[in-house]
């Protein structure tokens, strides 16, 4: 009986993604089911549709920027918290993970009104800021774990031998955290790339990320082109997930 429930649940979980990928290969202009012939026609359509190509470029740029900035800032902050253990460190950590408590919709509304008041509506800067705030909780948790795994004695040894704190950080700690940094970066990239709700609320027609572009396209019509684009998005996401899994990152990131 438990087995039956599990089989059904796995189907329910995987079905939407599988269906999108499967449907994207249909040779016909509408979805005639089941799809048994396979064609790359709609992939070619997707690639030649400037709206999607631009949006992909934007999503990529945005995710890369947000991830780099987040990882850099969070690494420094995590270093400060882990190595110095300052009073109020717990409060700071709670502050950094607070965005998790604010739903994407509420934050989207807040950012919408905020960037408008500052005249930053439809600017990449505002969007980067929002995405950074959204992924900081994950980065800070993950990098804290990474830093704790580096024994403090190694840094003391370097400092006794004459290096400054910053020098030690760059020459000793940073290389040892390489794997954790890459994992955090990939994870932030993935989350930013997949971010939908907040982005929809705070951007207009001039600044559409790929998920938002798909959303707007779907509001008009549902056709194999959008299925093809979505399938590509899924494949990129899955590739990132696979990379994360290889690096052993997922367990660490999702455990409390």
């Amino acid at each position: 009986m438990i087995l039956a429930v599990n089989v059904i649940m796995l189907i329910v979980v995987l079905a939407p993604v599988v269906v999108v990928i499967w449907m994207s290969f249909t040779p016909s202009a509408t979805f005639i089911l089941p799809v048994t012939d396979f064609s790359l026609r709609w992939y070619r359509e997707a690639f030649s549709y400037p709206g999607f190509v631009d949006a992909f470029g934007l999503s990529f740029e945005l995710a890369a920027l947000a991830a780099v900035i987040t990882v850099a800032l969070s690494f420094l902050a995590a270093y400060g918290l882990v190595r110095y253990r300052p009073a109020g460190g717990e409060a700071l950590k709670a502050f950094f993970t607070a965005p998790l408590l604010v739903s994407a919709v509420v934050f989207g509304i807040a950012m919408l009104q905020f960037v408008n008041r500052l005249g930053l509506y439809n600017q990449l800067g505002g969007l980067v800021l929002a995405h950074v705030v959204l992924v900081v909780p994950f980065a800070i948790r993950s990098l804290e774990v990474t830093l704790r795994a580096v024994p403090e004695e190694l840094e003391w040894a370097a400092m006794i031998l004459g290096r400054s704190r910053v020098g030690t950080l760059l020459r000793v700690t940073l290389p040892l955290c390489a794997r954790g940094l890459i994992t955090a970066f990939l994870f932030c990239f993935l989350l930013s790339f997949s971010e939908v709700t907040t982005t929809i609320f705070m951007t207009g027609p001039g600044l559409q990320t790929l998920p938002v572009r798909i959303y707007n396209y779907m509001s008009d019509r549902i056709d194999p082109t959008v299925a093809a684009v979505s399938a590509l998005v899924v494949m990129v996401s899955l590739a990132l997930v696979a990379a994360l899994n290889l690096l052993g990152g997922l367990r660490r990131l999702t455990s409390q």
Partner: protein, 287 residues
């Protein structure tokens, strides 16, 4: 040297704090402030203060939407609750490698953007979608089922999305459970189902409840899936927020809605954590 030491952690932490204050605190405060100003056709009247926006939220029109949102969230969370234990129990008996893959499968919906999932569910649940085609092909039904553009479709599509927020803590709790407890219960005469209900379930209950609370809160604020699977006639809170903020451009009201949603979810989080802690303490367990 000491002075520099006191300053050092601040230097490391300051950049992120600055970004968070500018990008997180300031916008939220701004929304709160906006919600307390009246809205005029010329824009926000920053000279006056009012709680009228909140009063407007009490309107039965909004009440109906909130009720629907609650109804859907409760349904999704309830179904998730019934499915969580069978899945977690199954997962805990798998080999280590199979477990990683298994959990990966359940985590992946959260990592794939929800618009793509909405597309997938649309292709599955619409009138000439996969499910109906399959059921009609197998002669199980004669006419297609209406699985979309109603609350049913939204509920079905929302189940896998936040399932992992209940599954992961429950799986951790089950894995951490001392096997000797089940063995002790067994040797004392409890058959396998009794071992579950009298030992495993009570001990893992706090983690389960905590996960359900998180799951409920996340279901309250979903956007893309209700838009496509529910449609304009089945509005939920997030769609209402979109309407007010981006269509009507009534930011004071939109701000009030945002603040109200935030207050509601934060209260739930707090209550959920207190509840789980009390449950655990009452049973002599670690919360």
């Amino acid at each position: 040297m000491l002075a520099r030491r006191i300053g050092a952690p601040a230097l490391f932490v300051a950049p992120l704090v600055l970004v968070m204050v500018v990008g997180f605190v300031w916008p939220l405060v701004g929304v709160l402030v906006n919600s307390l100003h009246p809205n005029t056709p010329q824009g926000i009247d920053a000279g006056h203060w009012t709680v009228g926006n909140y009063a407007r939220l009490a309107d039965p029109f909004y009440g109906e939407i909130l009720l629907r949102t609650l109804r859907i969230s409760v349904a999704v969370t309830a179904i998730t609750g019934m499915l969580a234990y069978p899945v977690a129990l199954f997962a805990s008996r798998l080999s280590a490698r199979a477990q990683s893959l298994f959990l990966l499968a359940y985590i992946s919906p959260w990592l794939i953007n929800t618009v793509v999932k909405a597309l997938g569910w649309t292709l599955l649940l619409r009138t000439n979608g996969m499910v109906n085609t399959l059921l009609r092909g197998l002669d199980v039904i004669a006419a297609p089922l209406k699985l979309m553009l109603n609350e049913t479709g939204v509920i079905i599509a929302l189940i896998p999305g936040h399932f992992m927020f209940v599954l992961l803590p429950l799986w951790v709790a089950l894995s951490g459970l001392d096997p000797a407890l089940s063995w002790a219960a067994g040797t004392l005469g409890a058959r396998p189902s009794a071992v579950f209900w009298r030992v495993v379930f009570p001990i893992t209950l706090p983690a389960f409840v905590a996960g359900l609370v998180i799951n409920f809160i996340m279901n309250m604020t979903v956007f893309a899936i209700p838009v496509f699977l529910g449609g304009a006639r089945n509005m939920v809170a997030s769609m209402l927020a979109y309407q007010i903020n981006l269509v009507q451009l009534d930011w004071p009201l939109g701000g009030a809605l945002a603040v109200a949603l935030l207050a509601f979810t934060l209260t739930l989080v707090w209550a959920g954590q207190r509840g789980a802690a009390l449950l655990a303490a009452g049973k002599g367990l670690q919360p």
